[in-house]
């Protein structure tokens, strides 16, 4: 449950984050044992390296799960069932458009200018012709949406994950991203919305809309996992590692895709020419 926006006040969050950072620093030097390589050792060693706070994290994970079952999930379910589809799409688009601003900044920070310019164009088009972002006409006009945040940017720059942490209410993260989330919040235009009551209501709606998008996948995850905590952790760490890798190599990956597409087109043209040559001319 990585929800990148926050409802609460920043002070509480700051405290949690700094605690995470400090305790993260103190455990950087994990000794690697070279004794008999039993299964138990290996499993434990992995956990020690990426998840030294497993005990606390598990507690937070359970707390989040209970809070989700008691509050967020039911509210999101009601939202998904009662609010008309076009309104849900509009809400998602509106906040998605605001999010594109910070995504664009991070595209540039990651050195991906092509995506960065697309992001600027998206915000311009959607904010004007898309009625303040309620419609995502940019996507239809072949300007695909991206999603970048500061945690990813730092990762691209080579900042390591740090220990795995589960943030209260927000879910899985790593120390680097947890700290970056704080800046992500202020990088989003909605943080400057006034009056505060409107901002908070909006943030709440935004979170509910986001949670509604994951109603099915959460229950799937619970079905699939033997130990849900480990399952979510391992999947999450793979996911962010993959995201950073993709962003680091975006140029190469894009060129590879273009090259593949070119070859496919060539193959098709060659096959067509062959058929044309084989059919006798009238």
């Amino acid at each position: 449950m990585k929800l990148s926006r926050l409802t609460g006040r920043a002070t509480m969050l700051q405290l949690v984050l700094w605690l995470g950072l400090i305790s993260g620093c103190s455990t950087v030097s994990t000794t690697v044992s070279t004794t008999v390589d039993t299964v138990k050792d290996r499993a434990n060693r992995f956990a020690e390296q990426v998840d030294p706070f497993e005990k606390v994290n598990r507690k937070t994970f359970e707390f989040n799960d209970r809070a989700d079952k008691a509050v967020f999930k039911p509210v999101a379910q009601v939202y998904a069932d009662t609010v008309p589809g076009f309104m849900q799409t509009g809400i998602g688009n509106f906040f998605g458009n605001l999010n594109d601003v910070w995504t664009g900044v991070n595209s540039f920070l990651q050195g991906n200018f092509q995506d960065g310019f697309t992001d600027i164009m998206r915000v311009s088009v959607n904010s004007t012709f898309g009625f303040l972002g309620l419609l995502d006409i940019a996507s239809e006009a072949n300007m695909p949406k991206h999603k970048n945040d500061l945690g990813q940017t730092l990762g691209v720059w080579g900042v390591p994950n740090g220990p795995y942490v589960v943030i209260p209410f927000l879910g899985p993260s790593v120390t680097r991203d947890a700290i970056a989330t704080y800046f992500d919040y202020y990088g989003d235009p909605w943080a400057y919305m006034r009056p505060v009551s409107v901002r908070n209501t909006g943030t709440f709606v935004r979170l509910v809309d986001k949670r509604a998008g994951y109603l099915g996948s959460f229950s799937l995850m619970q079905d699939a996992a033997l130990d849900e905590y480990i399952f979510v952790r391992d999947a999450y760490l793979q996911r962010i590692a993959g995201q950073i890798e993709t962003r680091k190599n975006y140029k190469q990956l894009r060129e590879e895709d273009e090259e593949t597409q070119r070859q496919i087109d060539e193959d098709e043209a060659a096959a067509k020419a062959k058929v044309d040559a084989a059919t006798p001319k009238p």
Binding site: V39, L220, A235, R239, I240, T260
Partner: protein
């Protein structure tokens, strides 16, 4: 005697048909295999009234008929168990494959029964004819604003054509994710403990799939 002759020719004809179908499947490129299965499954799921109204047992049947033949469960289990695989007895291995297979089928069926108006898109794919291990990349476009789910497959070519042996959802490979779960269970209570946990999990999940009358 004549009847017997007719029968043999009929059987011969059938076998020929099957053989041809088999050859066609072996020639199929991995990306067209994925596209074909996905399309068949999604179309059947959308067209089936029972599935749309939430009959899980029908979903299970659909998956068993259309998807199962193209998945290498043996390999998936071996990979997920990692180094522990060789430490298991043949009986344990067999049971492990059986239980893991059930779990994956339940999970996949659960995912499938959530499909409503999603759309699939495929990334450009081109493999060398000599390739025996490839990745097919796709994404699921959901109607919800800006939600795109990455969905990639790893396939290996064997004697019976291409088979899927790993799936990537939202950036996480299934096998890699199960590795941690498997080794945690094994370090706690051994291979038998893992089998027990899997069996208990499947028993719980199977309750959702018994037909409600």
């Amino acid at each position: 005697m004549k009847l017997f002759k007719n029968c043999t020719s009929l059987i011969a004809g059938l076998m020929l048909c099957l053989g041809m179908a088999h050859a066609a499947a072996a020639d199929e490129t991995p990306d067209s295999l994925i596209k074909r299965i996905s399309q068949e499954v999604l179309e059947s799921a959308k067209a089936d009234k029972d599935i749309q109204s939430g009959d899980q047992s029908k979903v299970l049947k659909l998956v068993e008929a259309k998807v199962l033949p193209y998945i290498d469960f043996q390999r998936m289990t071996e990979l997920a168990a990692g180094r522990n695989w060789r430490g298991a007895t043949p009986d344990q291995q067999q049971e492990l494959v059986k239980q893991f297979k059930s779990l994956l089928i339940f999970t996949y069926s659960g995912a499938l029964s959530q499909v409503k108006d999603q759309r699939l898109e495929y990334k450009p794919f081109r493999a060398d004819p000599a390739d025996t291990d490839v990745e097919v990349r796709s994404q699921v476009i959901t109607p919800r604003a800006g939600q795109v789910i990455e969905l990639n497959y790893r396939l290996a070519k064997g004697a019976n054509g291409w088979k899927i042996y790993d799936i990537n959802v939202l950036g996480a490979w299934l096998i890699e994710t199960y590795k941690g779960n498997f080794s945690a269970e094994i370090s706690k209570s051994g291979i038998d403990g893992l089998i027990k946990t899997l069996t208990a999990k499947n028993a719980k999940l199977s309750l959702n799939y018994t037909k409600k009358t």
